[in-house]
């Protein structure tokens, strides 16, 4: 199956671990990702915060590229996904484009399709038995449903379904779509600390040993800030933050998993060794 791929800017930089795991895992499921030729930044929070028209035109250029490529486009970054969908909805509202047939997919939704989960199930060589994880979806793949077209935006279950296929132990908790503070990471890190420490505490209360995320902003805020928050609150948090594609790679026995995990600030390898998974 061949689809277009819109990686977004962070996957070329700070989320290179996410990008590498996606590139490694998708071919194992028979999915071929073809990067959209000459894509541009979606404008992210900056554009929609201070220039609405810009926040429409930047992703609209990418939509035009996707339509030219005549394939559905898969997006690993939650915010890019949201901005592309928002531009698509605005085009429909302005009646510039009507039902063009190119679908914008969030990567998790795409990979959690029944047919792909069935392939995944057959290919698991290292079941992630005993790994207690909370799925953390964050905001932008779910909200607002009028943009994302999600059926279950308050309690999405795709991560849990996928983790079960990997034979990990997804735990129930009420914070899976709560905000990590996202784009305030640099301008108001103190706000991130409040929001993220709340997530740590709730994940621990649920019995989790790690987070599984689908968004590189969530990953950055939960992972990069963990040392700082521990110091600030005199706590000793140890909650590795996996991309779901990294855990897929681990369960599929991909040889490069350690290289991706070594790029995290909170090193997940001690946890995995402890669980006999590495």
């Amino acid at each position: 199956m061949k689809v277009s791929y819109y990686p977004g800017c962070s996957l070329e930089g700070t989320a290179s671990d996410y990008a590498a795991s996606i590139a490694a895992v998708t071919p194992l499921l028979g999915v071929e990702l073809e990067e959209l030729e000459d894509w541009n930044c979606c404008g992210a929070t900056a554009a929609h915060s201070i220039n609405h028209q810009l926040s429409f035109e930047l992703p609209a250029r990418n939509l035009a590229l996707a339509r030219k490529a005549e394939r559905d486009v898969v997006v690993p970054c939650a915010l890019c996904f949201n901005r592309l969908k928002a531009a698509e909805k605005e085009q429909q509202r302005r009646e510039e484009v009507l039902g063009d047939g190119v679908k914008v997919w969030d990567l998790l939704d795409f990979l959690a399709q029944e047919s792909l989960l069935a392939i995944l199930k057959k290919k698991v060589v290292r079941p992630l038995t005993g790994l207690k994880a909370v799925g953390y979806y964050g905001c932008m793949t779910s909200r607002p449903p009028a943009i994302t077209d999600k059926a279950d935006w308050e309690n999405p279950m795709e991560l849990e379904r996928l983790l079960k296929v990997l034979q990990a132990e997804p735990l129930d908790w009420s914070y899976k779509t709560d905000c990590c503070g996202a784009g305030l990471a640099m301008s108001r890190p103190d706000l991130i600390d409040t929001l993220v420490s709340r997530l740590y505490d709730r994940a621990l209360a649920a019995g989790a040993e790690c987070f599984v995320v689908t968004c590189q902003m969530c990953q950055a805020n939960l992972d990069l800030a963990q040392g700082r928050i521990s110091k600030k609150l005199s706590k000793d948090y140890y909650l590795p933050v996996f991309y779901f594609t990294e855990l897929m790679g681990l369960a599929l026995g991909h040889p490069e998993v350690e290289r991706w995990l070594a790029r995290h600030l909170v090193d997940p390898r001690p946890l995995l060794r402890d669980k006999g998974l590495m």
Binding site: D17, N40, I50, C179, S187, L191, R263, H264
Partner: protein, 194 residues
């Protein structure tokens, strides 16, 4: 932001009419259930709760809204708009107010947040893709110039080094895309200032 209850409030419909026209969001259907504020994760950092922003917008209190903190500490998680039973796009109103405050040259309550957005857009204006490194560098210098805190700078440098060592910083930034002239035109057309 304090609202002086002893001063008579002069309502005006101009703001809600503009919002209804430009954003197609029906502010007047708000029945003050406060679901937006109940679900907002950032209320602890706000001077006006989200429901108050809508209330004040209905009453045309533009000055109070353009100068408030709330619009800048909103993380755009869109929980408010999602849960509003009357389909009011509260998060969209926050964005609209930020844009309007900048357009009118108002004093911004959170200049760091506004500067971050501006630097972000500057960084992709030339080549079409964001350079995370250029953004981090420029924002760190901006912050240092505003209130020099050696501890904070040290923490940021340690973080930057940690990312660099792990191969997560692309020092040269992304190469310019072929369609960079289209991007420049988009920026010119939409009137984004440097």
């Amino acid at each position: 932001m304090e609202i002086n209850v002893n001063q008579p409030l002069v309502p005006s419909f101009s703001l809600q009419e503009r919002l209804a026209g430009e954003m197609a969001t029906p502010l007047s259907s708000c029945y003050q259930c406060k679901k937006c504020s109940a679900g907002c994760p950032l209320t602890f950092a706000m001077d006006l709760l989200p429901d108050r922003v809508i209330r004040l917008a209905l009453m045309g209190q533009t000055e109070a809204l353009l100068g408030c903190r709330t619009i800048w500490v909103c993380a755009a998680c869109v929980t408010c708009s999602t849960r509003c039973p009357n389909a009011i796009d509260i998060a969209g109103v926050m964005d609209w107010l930020k844009e309007e405050a900048l357009r009118q040259g108002k004093a911004i309550d959170q200049p760091e947040v506004a500067a971050f957005h501006r630097f972000f857009l500057d960084s992709l204006r030339a080549g079409g893709r964001l350079s995370e490194v250029a953004l981090m560098r420029r924002f760190t210098l901006f912050n240092l110039w505003r209130h020099p805190q050696i501890g904070e700078l040290w923490e940021n440098m340690k973080l930057g080094l940690g990312l660099f060592r792990r191969g997560r910083l692309r020092l040269g930034g992304p190469p310019a895309i072929k369609g960079r002239d289209e991007i420049k035109k988009i920026f010119q057309r939409t009137g984004v200032k440097h």
